[in-house]
């Protein structure tokens, strides 16, 4: 066949166009592609936060642990029965442990008397500047756009850097398989954890996604826990923060914790 260079170049040019058109026709040929989206029922917030009104908490009956029990039940939190292995998402601690900076040698004995037997409910502070997120080498813990500091248990390698970094002791490692140690009734809708992962409070993100408030907030009969969106100036939590003098735990270290206390 007699072929000129000109003819060859024409054919080559046409084939390049043909090859280039393939992806375009592919896209057009496809019907609706599967897509994913957030649940429309989900609570949307710009910055989730919590206020713990300690005066109301003290009004509760002696030794009330409603918030702790419900949290540990819905999240299948194990109970290993010893403090070394202890796993806790929300728990009660003494004043000097919750607010170590405020316990100083100049507090006199009368004030000390008031602070004694003053148990404080503590949980993950969902910091604005979370040190646990900074140190995680695999990005298993991360801060969401709405402020929830979350764990991706699929990624956690159990290195415990986050436990060392967290100034609030809000993180615990599962040294053993936690399944046999779940003493509460198993919540079949929520996973357990496995050996070698760190766990902590997740601000009930699985409930927020369904349009529910955190379990501890709903369980508190005294309404001592107030949960809401700091990004919404009309929210209840903003009103509470406007009307009360509140403190944060160890705010001077710069983690910008988002759990506020009315003492």
């Amino acid at each position: 066949m007699d072929s000129s260079r000109r003819f060859f170049l024409k054919i080559a040019g046409l084939s390049v166009i043909g090859v280039g058109a393939k992806p375009i026709t592919d896209v057009l040929a496809q019907g609706t592609k599967p897509k994913t989206e957030p649940d429309p029922k989900a609570l949307a917030g710009r910055r989730w936060a919590m206020v713990i009104d300690h005066k109301k908490c003290l009004n509760a009956k002696e030794g009330c642990k409603d918030c702790v029990n419900v949290c540990h039940q819905v999240h299948n939190v194990p109970n290993f029965g010893n403090t070394k292995d202890e796993i806790k998402w929300i728990w009660q601690t003494s004043f000097e442990h919750a607010f170590p900076g405020n316990e100083n040698p100049y507090i006199n004995e009368y004030m000390k008397e008031g602070l004694k037997n003053l148990p404080i409910m503590v949980l993950c502070n969902h910091c604005d500047n979370p040190p646990c997120v900074r140190v995680c080498p695999v990005k298993a813990t991360f801060k969401r756009a709405d402020g929830v500091v979350m764990m991706d248990y699929h990624r956690c390698i159990g290195c415990r850097f986050c436990m060392a970094a967290c100034p609030y002791g809000a993180r615990n490692l599962n040294w053993k398989d936690p399944r046999p140690y779940i003493k509460t009734e198993l919540n079949l809708e929520y996973p357990t954890r496995t050996r070698g992962v760190v766990e902590k409070c997740n601000f009930c993100e699985e409930r927020l996604a369904k349009g529910l408030r955190p379990a501890c907030v709903e369980a508190c009969k005294e309404k001592a826990l107030i949960f809401g969106d700091l990004g919404d100036p009309k929210s209840e939590i903003r009103e509470v923060l406007r009307r009360n003098m509140t403190v944060q735990r160890k705010s001077h270290i710069g983690t910008r914790p988002q759990v506020y206390y009315i003492l």
Binding site: G31, T32, K33, P34, K35, T36, E37, P38, D39, P40, A42, N76, F142, R144, M150, D152, Y153, H154, L186, L188, E189, Y190, P191, T192, R193, T194, R195, E205, A209
Partner: protein, 133 residues
């Protein structure tokens, strides 16, 4: 070639030894397992062929979208919506883990660690049936 006889015999012995596993097991391939889905539902979230070949990819995408991006609703190619959850959606139909997931995973020697954390569906009927036997 020096020592051709020895070399050729050596090569033959070598070939026989190397291919031993192939001809030893020829024709004895075990039949693929029979799976019991445990549901009347005709259609999974995507086509059966896709689910058979790529359910692990889909589950990985679901995991990342739910945990990292907070997206929990999946709209499939035909517009039907599902909550993206292994524990709360998949196992509602695939309620027989030991006769569905495990049978095939054992057959292909896959060892996914989903169930270390996610709670498998209760299979009481099955357990009862087994104890009867």
């Amino acid at each position: 070639m020096y020592n051709a006889g020895k070399i050729i015999i050596g090569i033959l012995i070598f070939l026989v030894l190397v291919t031993y596993p192939f001809w030893r097991n020829a024709g004895t391939a075990s039949a693929p397992p029979k799976l019991e889905v445990g549901t009347q539902e005709k259609q999974c979230v995507e086509s059966t062929a896709y689910m058979k070949s790529s359910h692990m990819i889909l589950l990985d995408q679901w995991r990342d979208d739910v945990v990292r991006n907070g997206k929990r609703i999946y709209t499939n190619s035909s517009g039907k919506q599902f909550v993206m959850s292994l524990q709360n959606t998949c196992t509602k139909c695939h309620a027989k883990k030991t006769q569905f997931c495990d049978r095939c995973h054992n057959y292909v020697n896959a060892d996914p660690n989903c169930w270390n954390c996610h709670i498998p569906p209760k299979e009481q009927e099955q357990k009862a049936a087994r104890s009867d036997q």
